[in-house]
């Protein structure tokens, strides 16, 4: 049916959690929506550590047990001197099975009437009188051109849709985390604990994670800052060295690679006839690299704005800016605080990290929390203490 239809209210480029959330809410609001995914499958490959908090997921959907590979209620930090510090999380989290999760999110959108097409590669925009009026691309060898009142860039870290529309989405080297992850099996790990390895030799300017997925399976990955990657040692070498040291008998089920934009949200998230959501708008949490919840939030807020704009006044930049305003009102300030904290601690040396670990180790376990951790971590830069207090209140 999409092939015959020439025009849609919204065309979403990219079928991740942000794109599917936008499509569901926009369709629910009565708009005609076409979602174009370049890959063969929705939800594949999974370029993600798959961690999400219970509160985060519940903002948008009730967690389906099929999505949840494991439930996490405890965190372990491993310092450069291999000191381990553990504590319970105040808020539980999950490791998702995103192959199923993303699939279901797209299905929800389809149930509301959105049309979803895979293997549809968008390679340009249709622009008339300096305004975005559609997209063009290829679907299984055949060219297509479709018009839309609003084109939504949900094309992830690449964010080319935004660039074609003249929005500034390029990520600076120091704000790109270079990631690689292996889903491994045959290892011993506790199913309720997140492990974070913090040291220059494990992950300079980032961290190395072991996220259990149940049944002796885990996502083990590393993300290093582009700032350090420039020195010449690529992310995969860090991961291979770690696996050889810590889990030499692991069997690898999947390897995925990906970039994580740990940046401020793009300055302009909209223009006439165009909106950016998810990683394409740099919505991912710049400190943790967690992008599912903020991506879905941006999709939801953008869709609410799109529905209002198309029912009243049209998709002008001025009308679509309501999305920017609501993004900044709900999460934007904290996003900037997370960015400031990250921008300081990603340069910490191993000695700095060891001092932080000792500071936290001196705190009785029942008094440890993420807030305590980062309060200790920013002692060197007191101006950040307020930021930590705000973003980790109750976490």
């Amino acid at each position: 049916m999409w092939k015959e239809q020439k025009e849609f209210d919204c065309i979403v480029v990219g079928g991740g959690p942000a794109g599917s959330t936008f499509a569901r809410i926009a369709a629910l609001g009565g708009l005609s929506v076409l979602l174009l995914e370049k890959d063969r499958d929705i939800g594949m490959p999974v370029r993600c550590g798959e961690a999400i908090s219970d509160a985060g997921i519940r903002l948008f959907v009730d967690p389906d047990p099929r999505w949840l590979a494991s439930t996490i209620d405890r965190i372990r930090l491993i310092a450069p001197d291999e000191t381990e510090i553990e504590f319970d999380l105040l808020e539980k989290g999950y490791i998702l099975d995103r192959r199923i999760f993303d699939y279901d999110l797209a299905q929800y959108a389809a149930q509301e009437g959105a049309q979803i097409v895979t293997k549809a590669y968008v390679d340009g925009l249709v622009i008339e009188d300096d305004k975005v009026v559609g997209v063009k691309g290829t679907h299984i060898g055949e060219r297509f051109e479709k018009r839309a009142k609003i084109v939504v860039g949900a094309d992830g870290v690449e964010s080319r849709v935004g660039r074609w529309a003249g929005l500034k989405t390029v990520i600076k080297l120091k704000d790109m985390e270079c990631g690689i992850q292996k889903t491994v099996t045959g290892i011993e790990c506790q199913d309720n604990i997140f492990d974070f390895y913090l040291a220059r030799r494990w992950a300079p300017g980032g961290y190395l994670w072991v996220f259990p997925k149940g049944k002796n399976k885990a996502n083990i990955g590393v993300a290093i800052s582009g700032y350090y990657a420039k020195a010449g040692k690529a992310a995969h070498k860090f991961l291979d060295e770690f696996l050889a040291w810590k889990y030499p008998n692991a069997s690898v089920l999947t390897t995925v690679v990906g970039g994580i934009p740990v940046d401020k949200t793009v300055k302009e998230m909209v223009n006439d006839g165009i909106m950016l959501i998810g990683d394409a708008a740099h919505t991912c949490n710049p400190l943790t690299g967690g992008g599912i919840t903020p991506g879905m939030r941006s999709g939801l807020l953008a869709a609410e704005t799109a529905v209002k704009a198309l029912h009243n006044g049209g998709p002008t930049k001025k009308n679509l800016q309501a999305y920017e305003k609501s993004w900044h009102k709900i999460g934007g300030k904290n996003h900037e605080r997370f960015y400031r904290i990250k921008d300081t601690i990603f340069r910490y040396t191993d000695d700095d990290l060891i001092k932080i670990a000792r500071g936290l180790a001196a705190v009785p376990e029942k008094n440890r929390s993420l807030m305590k951790l980062f309060s200790v971590a920013v002692r060197k830069k007191p101006s950040l203490i307020f930021d930590v207090a705000r973003v980790f209140a109750g976490v």
């Binding site: 370049k38 890959d39 063969r40 490959p45 370029r47 293997k119 590669y121 390679d123 992830g156 870290v157 690449e158 964010s159 080319r160 660039r163 989405t169 390029v170 990520i171 600076k172 080297l173 790109m176 270079c178 990631g179 690689i180 582009g226 990657a229 420039k230 020195a231 010449g232 690529a234 992310a235 995969h236 390897t255 995925v256 690679v257 990906g258 970039g259 934009p261």
Partner: protein, 66 residues
């Protein structure tokens, strides 16, 4: 000139996100660089997590001279 080892690539798009001149294109299982637009800044070489991209001109590559 930027050279691509396409058989190594995972098509993640990390290089596309940092390219200041938008000259890299990554499809489902294809990657290409438009050499007419490329400015040989090498940022894509640095960020690639699995060393798919490299700079063939040693004068321009800080990795090759490091």
């Amino acid at each position: 000139m930027i050279e691509i080892a396409e058989n190594k690539c995972d098509f993640c798009g990390c290089c596309v996100g940092v390219c200041p001149v938008n000259c890299i294109e990554v499809k489902e299982a294809e990657i290409s660089v438009d050499h007419d637009i490329c400015i040989d800044c090498d940022i894509c070489v640095y960020v690639c997590p699995i060393e798919v991209l490299s700079q063939t001109d040693p004068k321009k590559s800080s990795k090759a001279t490091a």
